[in-house]
């Protein structure tokens, strides 16, 4: 599959933006802790950047994404403003959900970002909705649901595959199989090693990809989005990947050191950079500039968040009713 070099550079930049966002978010979280403020759970997407970026590269603003508790990467890849996202982490009025949602509930419906979810598997049936709406209206939008291997053990997930395939809905289920459901290894959660084959039992397309290989994710997602737009039906993509951090900020690392080292060696950003350098699509200098620019952008976002005002406490009842 041929991908324009501009597109690859753009995707690399997004991956760096996600990585830098997470590192900056952890700094803000620790700043909060230092003054006795616990800013909720924070689930890092570091290590999984190729999945969100490779999938969302095929989406338009009128396509919907339903994210998970580990959703910063999906939000950035869908085009969310990192300043508003950072302000949300601090609960500011300028936050992407006006400080009412926090890390797990970032919404920007104008670009199709339909929110993260604090319930593991909670987004899986919601994602059927915009897919149904597109079919109902005869338009060609698609709906994408990102979820983890933990969510794949929920009953509702299987109901969704059944209904999506039965009605040939334009929905793409993207499992980020990072091998750990919080602190439980996948061998204690699944009696089998792979998720993708479950698609076959529902009569739908299922494909497993190396989730740390942007090119592989991009290609698989392109086929899935194409099938959905053409009305052929849904796809289940199992992206095998790994998170660099523990489940969240307050859970210590418990995974085997050799496993961590093995996956760090397969870092998706380093792999894409290696590819681009070998192809001559980017130079060392351009790469260094890109990283410097992204880091400056995230520092500015953090400053914006710190300087933004918190919501007026008297407004706690706002936005309940339409």
């Amino acid at each position: 599959m041929q991908i324009a070099q501009d597109d690859l550079r753009r995707m690399l930049r997004l991956m760096h933006t996600i990585r830098s966002f997470e590192l900056t978010a952890q700094t803000l979280f620790r700043e909060g802790l230092a003054v006795g403020q616990f800013l909720g759970a924070l689930h890092s997407y570091e290590g999984e950047e190729a999945v969100a970026v490779g999938v969302c590269a095929h989406l338009r603003d009128d396509d919907c994404v339903f994210s998970s508790h580990r959703g910063h990467g999906h939000s950035i890849a869908k085009g969310a403003d990192v300043r508003a996202m950072m302000a949300e982490l601090l609960g500011r009025e300028s936050g992407i959900s006006r400080g009412r949602g926090g890390s797990m509930h970032m919404f920007a419906p104008e670009i199709g970002l339909m929110g993260g979810n604090g319930i593991v598997g909670g987004g899986t049936p919601l994602a059927l909705g915009p897919a149904f709406a597109a079919q109902y209206r005869g338009t060609d939008q698609v709906s994408v649901c990102f979820f983890g291997d933990g969510a794949a053990s929920q009953g509702v997930f299987h109901e969704c595959l059944n209904l999506a395939s039965l009605w040939k809905l334009p929905v793409i289920y993207v499992c980020e199989n990072n091998l750990w459901a919080a602190t439980t290894p996948i061998c204690d959660g699944w009696p089998v090693a792979d998720l993708a084959p479950r698609a076959e039992s529902f009569g739908m397309a299922g494909v497993a990809v190396d989730g740390n290989d942007l090119l592989a994710v991009y290609e698989a997602a392109g086929e899935a989005v194409g099938r959905a737009r053409e009305g052929v039906g849904p796809t289940l993509i199992e992206a095998k990947t790994y998170r660099h951090r523990p489940h969240c900020m307050v859970i210590p690392e418990h995974r085997p050191e050799d496993e961590l080292a093995d996956w760090h060696a397969r870092d998706p950003i380093a792999r894409l950079e290696g590819h681009l350098l070998r192809e001559g699509a980017i130079s060392d200098v351009e790469l260094a500039d890109l990283v410097t620019e992204v880091e400056a952008e995230l520092q500015a976002a953090a400053d914006f968040a710190r300087e933004s005002a918190s919501p007026d406490a008297a407004t706690f009842a706002d936005y309940l009713w339409a």
Partner: protein
């Protein structure tokens, strides 16, 4: 004026709104071919087609979640859950998702969803087909809750619920379906949040919901000449027309709340709380709540009738406070 059944009233409301707005569709189990197991959507498939009357697998979590997501995408789903007891299999979609999406998104997401279901005992269907769960829905902020007692209210409230921009839980009662009532030929709406004085009186206020409104009216007839009862039909629990309750209690000084739900932990206790907090000075006797005995519904007819509150129970309660 015409005399029509509660089922017919609901059917007309759905058909009128589907005709008025193409975004309105019906989704649920058995809703197309047989028109729902209670016949509320009879004839809809023939009139509006299978695309707008979507018959689903037995998969409440998936299709209710789909309805929530479709509402987020701008459609106006009428989601039928056959028995309120079955809604317990999709409480995540109702309580965690539908009720909270607008708030969590800082007002960016709108969920114009109606969940129609029916509840109540009296048909020997035992413990998993006879519950009254309105208090659960009313307890969680973010959903409106309607409980019509007459065909007139059923039609007017359902039309308002479909046009409302918020999630509405619409609780019908299985024993009301065949009841008849007067209804104008012209179109009308009953607003959500307005209680109705079904019978004026001076001595005791009886606040009732759903089937218990009919039982309260029977009790008022029984006690005519002895105690003058004012029967207030709440029609919706959320929004709650507390002003109507307060105005009546200030007149009578005596309160009985009649609900079919279990007596303990129900919405009746909530009404007593509000009256005690806000109208304590007007009370001349302790308020009473009439409800079901606090046990799962037994199957055997004699046991079931012993558990359910009837008109005599209301008569006894009224005499106790009068």
């Amino acid at each position: 004026m015409r005399n029509v059944t509660y089922i017919r009233a609901l059917n007309e409301a759905i058909a009128e709104e589907m005709k008025r707005d193409e975004a309105v569709f019906v989704i649920g189990e058995d809703v197309a071919d047989c028109g729902g197991v209670f016949g509320v959507t009879a004839g809809m498939m023939k009139r509006f087609g299978r695309e707008r009357v979507r018959q689903t697998p037995i998969s409440e979590a998936a299709f209710t979640g789909l309805a929530v997501g479709a509402a987020m995408a701008g459609l106006r789903p009428i989601c039928e859950i056959m028995y309120v007891d079955f809604a317990t299999t999709c409480m995540d979609q109702i309580l965690n998702q539908a009720a909270k999406l607008r708030y969590m998104s800082g007002g960016q997401v709108t969920v114009p969803l109606v969940i129609r279901t029916q509840q109540g005992g009296g048909t020997c269907e035992a413990a998993q087909h006879s519950q009254n769960l309105e208090a659960i829905f009313a307890h969680v902020p973010g959903m409106k809750v309607a409980m019509p007692s007459t065909p007139y209210d059923a039609k007017g409230l359902l039309k308002s619920a479909i046009r409302d921009h918020n999630p509405v839980i619409f609780l019908e009662h299985k024993l009301l379906y065949e009841t008849k009532g007067e209804m104008p030929r012209e179109e009308y709406l009953v607003p959500l949040g307005e209680a109705d004085v079904k019978r004026e009186g001076t001595d005791v206020t009886v606040v009732a919901t759903s089937l218990m409104v009919l039982r309260a009216l029977e009790a008022a007839e029984t006690l005519a000449g002895e105690v003058s009862i004012e029967v207030i039909d709440l029609r919706t629990l959320v929004p709650l027309d507390f002003e109507a309750i307060a105005a009546s209690v200030r007149k009578t000084g005596r309160l009985v709340v009649a609900q079919e739900a279990w007596t303990s932990g129900g919405f009746g206790g909530e009404i007593v709380r509000r009256v005690c907090e806000e109208c304590f000075d007007a009370l001349v006797a302790p308020p009473k709540v009439v409800g079901s005995a606090d046990v799962p519904m037994p199957f055997s007819p004699g046991l079931e009738q012993a558990v359910l509150p009837d008109a005599d129970a209301i008569v006894d309660a009224v005499r106790a406070v009068a």
